[in-house]
Structure formats: C-alpha cells, structure tokens
Symmetry: C5
Subunit: 331 residues, 5 copies
C-alpha cells in the first residue's frame, strides 16, 4: 500500500494513493516536499521505486529482502538508509525488530516497511495535524522527527530490562529455579540483539550528523547529534547490561552451588544420626541375642544377678559409644 | 582440468580445453574477455600459469599449497585473490571450506580450485546461458558475480546454526546429556572457524570496494560495497553467535548444576526416611531382645502385666522417636 | 530555586534570587562574572534559560530530562556540559549519581541540578568566603574549581570499594555465605556503574583540556589536564577493580566448591563408619538368632561347649570383617 | 664459534673461521657479500662485533643477554633484528624458543645464536650447495631465505596442536581424568607462548615489508610480504586455538559435572534399595522379637492359630510397605 | 632530607645538604650539572621546590600527595615525571610500589621520594664512584641511568611470579587446598597491579624516546627506546601471566571438581557395600526371629529336620540375594 503525503496549493495536508502524483511532485523540485510511505512492498510499488524514482537496483533489492543490516548508502541524488524499529515484550523477554527502508532526496522522503510501524503511524498523525511544519521545510526535518521516534523506542526497552534484571536478581536469591536460568539466558540474547541492532544504527546516525551529505543542511546537524547522543547512551547501557547479565549468571551458579553445599551439609547431619543410632543399637541387639540363645550349658543364665549384669553391660556399651560420638563431635 | 570460456566471433559461448588458445586470447587485449577455470592443478596447468600468463612464482606457490589465508595481492598487471568457498552440514555441525584462487587481469579471469565448487558450477551455467553478459564486459563483472555467489553461501549456514542453537537450547532444558554438550562445543568450533574464514575475506572485499585497483572500474564499486555489507552483517552475526554459544554453555552447566541440586535434595529425602525407620525400629528390637533372654532370674517375666507393659513401653518409645523427627521437620 | 552570585561594585559577594538581575549582568559583558545556581528546575527557571540566556532548546531539554549522559556540546556562544555528581554508601554498597548541567559563557556559569549537591554547596561557601578570587576572574576558574570538587568525590569511593573488597576477601575465606555472594554481585554492579559514569566524563574533561574552546583560556588548560589525570587514574582503578571483582567471584566459587569437597569427604567417613558397624554386627545378630530358635532337634544346643564355641565363632566372624575393612583402608 | 661464508674469487663457496678475514670483506663493499654465523657468543666474538663491525653497544648487549623480545632496530648503517626460532614437542606439549640475533648491513649478514639452530644449519647447507645464488646477491636475499625457514617452523607446530586438541576432545568425552586437564592447561600455556613470540615477529616482518629500510630493495618487498602473510595466518590460528582451548576447558568441566550428576543418580538408586530393605525387614524383626519374649503371661502364645496369625500379619506389614514404596515410585 | 650532588671545581664529587647552594648551581646554567635528592618531603623542602626552583604548584601538589599515577608533564622549562619503584616479596606474594617524582631541567635533576629507594641509593653510589660520568654530562644521562635501574626491578619480579606459578601448578595437581586458591587470587591481584603500574610508565618512556622534549638530546633517544623495549616486554609478559592466572584458576576448579567426582564414586562403592550387607542379613534375621518365637503351636519346630531345613532356607535366601547384586554388577 502506497500513500503520498504533501501540501496542496493552500498549504493544506493532502493524502493520495495514486502513484501517478509522484512524477508531478518530483518535477516540482525544491518547491514542494512530499513523503511517500509504502507498507508491504508489492510489484506495483517496486515499479514506482524503479521507474518513477529511478532508485538503484541494489537499494530496491535491499528493500525487497527486508532482512538487511542498518546502513547508509549515498547514491549522490539521494540517500538510502536502513533502520530498525524495535519492539520488546517485557513479560516474555521477547525482542523483535522490523526493517524500515528510507530514501531521502532533495524534496522527498520515501519510507518502506512490512506491516504497520508505530513510530511511522505517530509521524503520519503529526503530519496531518501540523502539515506545514513537516511538509513545508526540507525533507530532512521529517526524517529527523522520524528517527527521533525510532530512537526513543529503546528507552522503555532498557527500563523493562532493568526491571526484569532486578526481579531476576531477587528471584535468584529467593528461589533459584531452572526457569529463572532460562530467563537469564533469554535476557542475554535480548541484550546481544539490541547491541547488534543498535551499533550500526548509531554509526549511521553519526555519519548523518557529520555534515557529509548535502541532503542534510548544516543547521540540522545538531539534531542528528542529539539522536546520536541518545543512541550512544543506550548502546553504553546495553554494554553494561551485557556485563551485568554475565554477572547475574555467575550469581545464579554461585547460589545453586551454595544451596548444594547446604544440602550436602544436611546430608551429613542425617547420615551422622543414622550412623549413631545404628552403631549404638546394633551391638545391643547382638548382646540380647547372645543371652536369648537356647544352649543347655550357658553358665551366666544361672547367675543370680546375670540379668541385671547384662542390662548394666548394655548400658555401659551404649553410653561408651554415645560418648565416643560425642567426642568425635558428631552430636 | 583446464577449461577456457570465451565468446567466439559470432558472440556465442565457446568452451575449449586447449591451453594453446590462451596465448591468442591474451594477445586480443581488451577486445575479448575470457575465463579460465582450473580444477585440480597439475604440472601441466602450473606450466600454463607460469609461462603463458607469467604469474608471479609466489602467487603460483599459494595456488599449489591450497591452504592459504584469504587475501588480495596486487601484482600491477593483475590482481591475485584467495577466497574460501564454505560448506556446512547442519545435522552433523561440520563446517568445511575450500580455497578458490583467482587472478583478475585486464581481459581475463582465472579461477583455480581443488574438486568441484558449487558456486563456480553455477557461474559456468550462467555464462553458458548468457554469454554476452558475462564475457562481453569487463572481467570484473564475472568476478563480482562469482563473489556474490560465494558470499551468499554463508546465509543458509547462519540460518542452520540459528536452528541448531534453538534446538540445543530446548534440549538443554529438557534432557541435558553429554552429547548435547559435545554439540555445543562443536558449534563453538564452527562459529570460530566461520569468523576466521570470514574476517579476512570481508577485509579483502573492502579493499576491492575502495577503488584502489584499476582492474575494477569505478561504477562497479557499489556492487563490491554491497558484497561487503553482506559479509559485514554475516560477520557481526557470527560474533553474536559466539557470544550466544558461550551463553548456552553457561546455561548447560547451570541446568546440570540445578539437576544435581535436585538429586541431592532427593538423596536427603531418602536418607531421612532410612534414618527414621532405623532410629525407631532398632531400639524396639533391642527391647524385645532383652525380654527374649533366657536368664533364670528376670523378675519382669513373672509380672502379670509385664507383657502388656513392655508393649506399652515399645509404643511410647516408638511414638516419642516419631514425634522427635516430626519436630525436627524430617517428616 | 534560582540563586545569582556576583560581585557588587565594592567587589563584595552579592547574592540575589531575582531573575531580573541576570539580564543586567549579561549586558555587563566581560567586566563582571556571575554564577547562577538553579536547584530543582521549574517552569519559571526554564523561562529564564530560554528567554534571558537564550539557550538552545535541545540543551534545555537535556536539563529538564535529567537522565542524560555526560557530554559536552559547543553552542558557539556558550558551552553546555553534563556532569554527574557521585555518591557511594560503603556499608550498603549503594552507588548513586545525580546530574549537574552546566552552561559556561563568556562571563557566566549556570549550574542546574535536582536537590542539593555537596560539591556545589562547598563551592558556594568558597565563593562567599573568597568572592574576588572566584567571581573576579574568567568564569572558567569557577568551573575548574567545581569540576575538581566533583572529580575528587571519586577518591573516597574507590577507597571504600578497596576496603569492602578486602573485607569480602576475608569473609569468603572464613565463612562464605549467600549474602557475601550478593555483596560481590552488588560491588560488580557498582564498579560497572562507576566506569559507565566516569568514562564519558573523563572524555569530556579531555576535550576541555585540549584548548578547543575559546571559553577556556590557554593558561587554564593545565588545570583541566590535572583533573583529566585524576579521572584517568580513577578510571584505570575502576578497570582493575572490575577484574578483581571477577577474580573474587571465582575465589568464592572455588571456596564453596572446596567446602563441598570437604563435606563429601566427611560424608564418606561417616558412611564408612556406618557400613563397618552394620557389616560386623548384622551377621552376629543372625548367628545369635539361629541359636535362639526353638527347634526340638538342634544338636549344637546340647554340646557341652556349644555356647562357648558360638561365642568364639562370633569373635572370629567379627574380627575377620574388621580385618577386612582395615585391609581396605576404611578404618 | 665464528664462521664466515663468502665467495672466493672463482665464485666458489669459501668457509673461514678467521675473524681477521672480516675486515677485508667489509672493505670490499658491495662487491662481495658474506655471512658471519656465530654460535655461542664468547669474549672473542663480542670483540669482533664491537671493534670490527663497530655495532652499537646496546645491540651487542641484547645479543649477550639472549632473552630479548623480537624487534627491529635501525642503526642507519645496518639493521639489527631479534628473532625466535621455535620448537615444539607434540607428545609432551613442550614449547621452547631460542633467540636468533641478526645484523643486516650493506654487504653482510651476521647471525648470533646459542647452540645449533636447525633453520640456520639448513640455510648453511643451501649456501654450500648453491653459493652464487645466496652469496652473490644482496644480503637481504640470504635474510629472506632464513626468515622463511624460521616462519615455516610454526606450521608443523600448529598441526601438532590441532592433533593434540582433537585427541584431548576425544579423551574428555571418553575418560576425563586429571591428567587430561593438565594437558589442556599446558596447551593453553603453549598457545599463549606462541602468540607472545609470534606477535612481535609478525610486526617486525611487517616493518621489513613496508620498504622503510634501504637494506631491503623494493623488488624483495613482496617476499617479506609473503612471510608476513604466513605469520599473520599462524597468528590468527593461534588466536583461534586460544578460544578453542577455553572451550575445551569448559567442555571438560561440563563432562565432569555431568558425570557427577550420573553418579549422584546412582547414589540415589542405591540409597532407595537400602531404605526399602531396611524399612520392610526391620519392623518384621521387631514383630518376631515380640513373640520371642519369655513373659509368662502372653495370651497370644496359647492361641491355636497365633503362629499363623503372626506370619500373616508379617506378610501384610511387608506387602503394605512394599506397596507404599512402589506407590512412591522408588521401585 | 635534602641532598645536593654536584662536581666541585676540581671535578670532584661534592655532597651538600645546604639548600642555599641550589640557587648558585642553578645560576651556573649549562656549565654545571647537579642532582637534588629529597627523601621525605617536609615544609622546608617544599619551600625550596616552590621558591628556588619555582616549580608549578600542580607539580608540587603531586609530589606532596604521593599517590599519583605515573605520567609526564612538560612545563616548558623543565619536565615533571612520576615513576614507581616496585618491590615484590615472592614468598608472600606481596607487591608494593612507591612513588618517585622527578624534575628534569636544563642542568639539574630533582628526585623526590618517601623513605629510601634502592634504585636511587645505587645511583648515588655510582655517582660517588664515577662523578664526572654522571654529573659532567647532560642531566638526562643521570635520568636514563636511574630509569634503567627502576625498569630492571621488574625482571626479578616476573621471574618470581613465574616460579610461584609453576609451584602453584604443581600444588594444585598434588593437593589443592583453600590456601592454594588464595595464593592464586593474590597472584592475580599482583599481576593486575603490575600491569596497572607498568602501563603508564611504559607510555611515559615511549614519549621520552620520541624526541619531543628538548631536555633529552637526540643521541640519547636510543637509550630510552631500549628502556621502552624492556618495559614493553615486561608488560607483554604481565599480560600473558594474567591469562595464565585465569587458566590456573580454571585448573584448580577442575581439579577440585574431579576430586569431588572421585569421592562421589567412593561414596557409591561404600553405599553399595552397606546395602548388600543389609539386604542379605536383615531377611536372615527375620527368619531366625520367626523360629525363635514362643508359640505353642508351631508345627515346624517339631519336624525332625526342621532346623536343618531352616538353615538351608537361609543359605538359599542369602545366596539368591548375593547373586542378585552380583547380577546387578554392584559387587
């Protein structure tokens, strides 16, 4: 679906879906700025890009593939940029990003994406409400506004990660489970993905802010530097989170190891109890067994105090063993 | 085996295996482009390289050794490139690469490799089908087409690694076995090998794309930059996978450690059961043993309620011990 | 709350809260230096920044957001700096930092912060006590004095970390608990935060010390280089602590593992005792049981030395088993 | 021991041990190239270096110390290089290196080493066999030939490491022993040593290949670049092995941990068997004990079916306990 | 304590403690070189530095604080250097360093330190013995000699670390104790401290060797480059030790883990023995218990071969259980 946004002759917002309008707008040159937004590129739109705008086949190819790396290409008559709109679902730790391809010409901006992108919807509404501001100036103003939208998307993501991290830290100390470990691993993945998406975008913005491209006027540079500063900060935070995730993994392993150590200690306590009971009562059983034998000639059986003597012997044996274990500090 | 591909006088595709043709084609100069493909370098082909093309001995040496590092050498009259064609078998996590040596001259391209290479076979078919396109222009067009083929080989490899990684992640959480660990290690190896093969190739392509070599005309540079962008992206992904493999190893160890902790917990439970049974019934055995002794003088034996008294005593002892363990929360 | 510090006509310290004074002071130009300190930015103060000082909207935006990254922006007529005042509570290992936004113009210094900052309070007192020194010179002298204060705050933090580290090291070797591990993790976090806050500040100071900005005269550069040297050293120490924290985590895990190994050893000792007792006395119980059976035809019962024979047999059995375990080195 | 190799007047190989010849050869200038090889530097040879060649004291000092770092020093009239000849014993994982000090002048090459070095012996034999080739040209040809020898020594070392690595990988999966672990650690050491020796040598060769030194003519540069390429590749491989050794250590720990987990599982199985046997038979012992007591008043003893009743009771108790453990899935 | 070393008019070594001499010596200019060594800076010496030498307050401040980072500052009329003298006690793995502050002027060298420094004592003795050599030339010769002393101090430290490392490696394989682990951690700390002290000193020497400072004449540069080479090598070795210490920590953990695994194996063996004994003899006890009961109606008791039948039954039961465990490979 292709949409064209421009100002009509009374400086009013005008929305068209007719590709034929583009040629006319292009011919206007610097007088009129327009924005073409393409959602879900089909043969018809590719036709427009190739024939009306006469974009380079390699750039169009990148738009079609839609799994490209963020970058900036200078085709002299226009700039071609690839950006990523990001999305993060805190509860499930799922990070997704979708490509936004941008062409910036002398008097036009073309954006191409698959499915709706929130940042672009927001930008469209802004245009509708305040058309002269966005469509009356150089198209780089439109670009800057959109890039700011895209860059600001990272802020809540990092806040979510920060929350999740603290939660995980607490969970690890309270009840470290396999699920927690899996969450940590997923977070590691997310942080790596953010770094990977962010790094080249930051570099791209940096290039834009250096005043190398005539499409971007000098006085706008500070705005791009501002986006760059934001991205730089987010990147540094992602770096820090990467380190922290490694730290939290170590924390997890150490907590589990500690827990193991505690359980081993408990095992020892239980084992000692068992051993003491066995070591005291088994010998006594043997003693009672001896005097329970039915031999005809067992002198002790006829002794007057034989019974009490044996009871005494059993007590001595029992207490000796008890004292022995006490001495060994098992009790 | 040496094959020569060129255009005949009617601009038709011509295939020859006669090295003698080369001298003639070389003499044609810029008028005719030709491609010499050499599979399995033997003395005869080395002869051709050294005497007909008069390539530098060091370059020929690199071709013969066939375990060289990707690089680019500028011998003024021609460029010498070493590339690696890669191959990955997902199910067994085996990564292999084979060397492709390339000479790019003013009107010729020479490729040398051991055994058939899919990318080169594909390129040959393309040439046959569309000879004027590939053999009618500057030979760098042929080179660019071939390098694109070689670079595109990495894409499915990374997709396979991604799949394997997710599979391993699931396996680790379900049933972490020694075999899984071995798979992780093998994947680590593969990712390291990809990085090692990819890094210098990316740098080589970068040099090609900078317009330093007269063999590559200005207007082709953007195509090399495109290959470079692809390679850069693949390299970055390989970097990310390296981090992820490290993460998955940590995940494995933590899952196993967790499992150990669970088993230790179970050990404790079993041990407690054993200890309780022993601690309750062994003393009772001793009591019954005592009154099973055959002494003549055992007053209790004659008491009227001695038997029931002892039964009661046993119950008291048993319940006391049971209560004790209950109190200690072992039950 | 907005406060204006300047020299009155008799070179005395003058303190005002009236924003209207600013316009006048600004008009004085290089003749009079003044410092505006703003605590807790409200609409009224933003008004002053925007309309009286006419600062760039992006800079004011950074002041309002107050979660910005340390940086330096050159707006030609003035410099805009973001710094972080740091605070560390040793006992709880809590690290906090609060933003200080600074504008440095030809004859003014503006500082903006939320809540009171100790370094700024100290500077204000210094100004009161020695007004001509701080308000009679170029405003960069005031800036330098304040930055030195902010930089010096790191020194006691690192000393505290050093102390905590040694304490943790001792604790780990004495009684490694889960709490110790948590402390280590928190310290890791603190060190990472310090690095993250420090790095860009160090770079900012470096830029100031290179003489790029007309606001900072040549002869002051050495003072900024001195701050830079301090910050560099602190950063290097933070780097070292990061390595040490990683080392201390390894130490912890190894101590716990060692402890586990010791407990396992103890388990083995206890188990052996249990097994020996059981293995010696259970067979004896069976022997006594046999001769305690009430069969009518048991020839041994009538033997004259049957009883002593059995006692002898039991001793032989007992000693044999004892010797057997002795031989196996279990005792 | 000092040996001088040169061409005599009939272009024949000439070998001398007389230091006095050197002065004469030096005086010849560019007409005659000669090579002085010094094994085991003594006072007499140091004398020659200092007085005849007039080398700088610092360079001679480095030769004497013989534990120097690979480097290149330009003393204007000659180059001073330090290289390391390497040696690796695969079976014992022992890596050794010995220093080779080289002076390269306008018409001479001086090599100094302790004990025989295989690469230098090989070079000497080459000279003898083909004297005009090596001694008739610029001395840098001799140097290049020798450096190639030294660089090629690394190739079999890496092949050995690769073999050892694969062997260790198999051993770890089959029977991970303490000895295997020690082997891994030794391999790590070797890889680190190779990197450390290799890095500065690679950089030295790089400097030689850049055409900065008049001693090395332009047309030789490609040969040095070739050595550099080899060294670069070896260095990259050493880097990869370093990563792999870290991976193999992780593999080892995970295999051992897995093994522990298996053993723990077995412990649980054994424990359950023990507990079941004890829990079933101890209560039965108590029952039989009760009816083995000798009280005069035990009503059950006179019941006609008392005996069979008790046997039945014992069976019920036994089967109930068995069923209980079956229910708990311990059997 | 302040000491002044200079040459008197007869070119003899002269030692003075009178600060008043300094002004005179300074006035001499390039004619006379002198060295001022200050041990334990007091008010009196600070006075000299500030008023006689007129050093910059920031430099003096660094001398007073004496916990500064190695660096070099160029104050145009003189250079200010901070170096660290290092000391390492092998047996206790204690690493200490003390600051040496150095001013190098046109004809003087000032050294400031707390407590005696061995390198400086050595240098003083050298001066006394060979005054014209050290005090007759440019003061940078004195500096170079002293820096060589300071740099050489690292060599025995690294040798000690190497010895300790090998010793620890052996200890770990023989009897890995908690103490060994602590030693490893301390060594890690030492290596990190060496790197931290060494890095900036190496960089400082590098700056000195680049010929940027007029205080250091061209022909001396090679001597500084020599020190730099030594420091570079030491730094690289410290880097390698850092890697090795990490490796030795891994080795320790793996040895302990292996030991645990061995102990677990032993636990299993002991457990199996216990279980077999219990499982065989407990049932036999129950059988004897049954026929030891005193019921009046127990038909088996009157059977003629009842007793032998029961003995046979017991043997069958015992052997069956033994065979069962044999079959399960527990024996």
């Amino acid at each position: 679906m292709l949409q064209i946004f421009s100002l009509d002759k009374e400086n009013k917002f005008k929305r068209s879906e007719n590709p034929a309008d583009i040629a006319e707008l292009l011919a206007n040159g610097a007088k009129g700025v327009f924005w073409v937004d393409i959602e879900d590129l089909t043969e018809r739109e590719i036709e427009v890009l190739a024939n009306v705008f006469q974009f380079h086949p390699l750039a169009i190819d990148d738009c079609v593939k839609s799994n490209s790396y963020p970058k900036i290409d200078d085709f002299e008559k226009y700039l071609f940029l690839i950006f990523h709109a990001v999305n993060f679902s805190g509860p499930t730790n799922e990070f997704t990003h979708s490509e936004v391809d941008i062409f910036l010409g002398a008097n036009f901006l073309v954006t191409i994406h698959q499915g709706p992108i929130r940042s672009i919807d927001v930008q469209r509404e802004k245009c509708e409400r305040n058309a002269p501001l966005y469509l009356g100036k150089n198209p780089d103003f439109l670009l800057h506004s959109m890039l700011t939208q895209l860059a600001d998307n990272y802020i809540p993501i990092l806040a979510d990660i920060d929350d999740n991290m603290e939660e995980l830290e607490d969970l690890i100390l309270l009840e470290p489970s396999k699920e927690v470990m899996h969450q940590i691993f997923k977070m590691r993945k997310v942080v790596l993905q953010i770094r990977r998406t962010l790094g080249p975008q930051r570099d791209t913005i940096f290039q834009l802010s250096r005043g190398m491209y005539p499409e971007i006027p000098k006085k706008s540079l500070i705005y791009y530097r501002d986006i760059y500063d934001h991205m730089y900060r987010v990147y540094e935070m992602a770096e820090m989170y990467r380190d922290l995730v490694a730290g939290i993994m170590d924390l997890y392993v150490s907590v589990i190891t500690h827990q193991q150590s505690d359980q081993q200690h408990q095992t020892n306590t239980v084992m000692k109890t068992l051993t003491i009971m066995t070591a005291i009562f088994l010998p006594l059983t043997v003693i009672t067994g001896i005097y329970g034998m039915n031999f005809q000639h067992m002198p002790e059986l006829n002794w007057e105090f034989g019974y009490f003597g044996v009871l005494g012997l059993m007590m001595i044996v029992g207490f000796s063993l008890f004292a022995f274990f006490k001495h060994k500090r098992w009790i």
